[in-house]
């Protein structure tokens, strides 16, 4: 992958000037995935990252239901009910693929062999706690899937989310109020307004989009450090 290549959609606004939409965030994440990395993209918005990985990136996608070197979503005659991703969407296989069973697939995840995983989140805390599986609502039916395994397994855990909820509440918080998926597991948070590194020294703002650090500091309930 060429880290200097522009986002694939020429109509997108240039990064840095204004807030990003989900496609922009996905493109921004794709730029940070090293050449040849083994990557798991969580269900939902993180799957958009795949659209921004170039063919020569050498990135190998893992799907936790038992496959490495997963290809794009299947269309038309290529749809095969035996070949789906973790979101149960029909996908394709690339040359060099391998299939394995669930225990082997999660051993691969839990054993720290994936270089990167990208997950959505309800909340991320300053010390890297992740909440993305359960709203904690009393009538919610709990369902975790592979979220907890992914959160603790990959060498680097990237979160992709908006920085604020629709009602304006911060999602990067001093302490998560939603039930946790994993503790101290998030390395970096990609949002519409900024990219944050969660470090032992604190939350470092690597980059902003249409906002200043001071803007963000005024709306977030935690100290921000410049990069």
């Amino acid at each position: 992958m060429n880290p200097d290549r522009p986002t694939m959609d020429a109509e997108r606004r240039p990064l840095g000037k204004s807030p990003l939409d989900k496609h922009d965030i996905a493109a921004r994440i794709a730029r940070d995935i090293p050449h040849g990395a083994f990557v798991n993209l969580g269900i939902g918005q993180p799957t958009l990252v795949a659209d921004h990985l170039s063919a020569d990136s050498g990135v190998v996608l893992h799907t936790e239901n038992g496959m490495l070197n997963m290809g794009p979503a299947a269309q038309g005659d290529a749809i095969d009910p035996d070949l789906t991703n973790a979101g149960k969407i029909p996908v394709t296989e690339l040359p060099g693929a391998a299939y394995f069973h669930h225990a082997d697939s999660f051993a691969m995840m839990r054993g720290g062999h994936l270089d990167v995983c990208v997950l959505g989140a309800f909340q991320v805390s300053a010390d890297g706690d992740l909440a993305n599986w359960h709203t904690g609502a009393p009538d919610a039916i709990p369902a975790v899937g592979g979220a907890m395994d992914l959160a603790i397994g990959a060498k680097k855990v990237f979160v992709m989310m908006t920085l604020f909820t629709k009602t304006g509440a911060p999602k990067l918080v001093p302490q998560c109020t939603y039930p946790l998926t994993g503790t101290g597991c998030v390395d970096r948070v990609y949002t519409d307004l900024a990219v944050f590194d969660l470090t032992p020294q604190g939350v470092v703002v690597r980059e902003t989009f249409g906002a200043t650090i001071d803007d963000l500091a005024g709306r977030l309930d935690l100290p921000l450090l410049p990069a």
Binding site: N65, M67, P81, T84, H101, M148, L180
Partner: protein, 222 residues
């Protein structure tokens, strides 16, 4: 012991007892042993504990088994889906128990059962709701949760091909939980698309060796 080749799914599920723990393969529809589940519905065993990744979709398969009130408890990673209304209704009515297990721990706990491991320290879920009440231990600075095996009385799995000895191969991501469940149950029943002569499958590519398989039935719709 020698595998039994069954002429019909009803023969394959014969004898499953009330109160059994039944491991059911599949991830979504991939690898789902639909004909075996339908046969289990006809067979009549009740008060079942079902271990499967999901808790049924729509009105068929697992959802139909649930709808008939035959399942006391579901152990799964992801019950909630867009079309899991049968489970959702039973759960909200307090008519079914639910144990949510992280997907990898679900697989590993069944692997432990099949591999004779008494318990294992697993990092997944440490510090979360799903570890509440479980023993934990810090090993080399990391917190682990002690997880115990999940054993089945019966496993119902879907595979691609079997030979006449019971060796199984799977196809693409339909492999998922089948090979693990096959190691973890007392009686393992496989629904396959094709039964081939012994010697046809490449010994290098057999995923579930015959030792794990008790009964095989070829899909009626294959």
């Amino acid at each position: 012991m020698t595998v039994k080749l069954c002429a019909h799914a009803d023969e394959a599920v014969a004898g499953i007892k009330d109160g059994s723990t039944v491991l059911v393969g599949g991830f979504g529809m991939a690898g789902m042993p639909v004909e075996l589940i339908d046969a289990l519905i006809r067979q009549g065993a009740t008060d079942l504990t079902v271990v499967s990744n999901n808790a049924g979709n729509g009105d068929t398969g697992l959802a139909a088994l649930l709808a008939k009130g035959r399942v006391r408890k579901v152990v799964c990673s992801f019950p909630r889906q867009s079309d899991s209304y049968v489970f959702d209704g039973l759960y909200r009515a307090g008519r079914i128990e639910l144990e949510v297990v992280p997907q990898g721990s679900l697989a590993e706990r069944m692997r432990a059962a099949g591999a004779g491991i008494g318990a294992f320290f697993c990092p997944t879920g440490a510090g979360t709701l799903l570890a509440e009440g479980k023993e934990t231990r810090v090993i080399d600075g990391r917190t682990y949760v002690l997880e115990y095996p999940i054993r089945g009385d019966v496993a119902l799995i879907g595979a691609h091909r079997a030979d006449r000895m019971g060796n199984l191969v799977y196809r693409k991501t339909a492999r998922n939980f089948g090979p693990v469940m096959a190691t973890a149950a007392t009686t393992v029943i496989a629904q396959v698309r094709e039964v081939v002569d012994t010697g046809v499958l490449d010994p290098e590519s057999v995923v579930t060796p015959s030792i794990y398989v008790d009964r095989v039935v070829q899909e009626a719709t294959a």
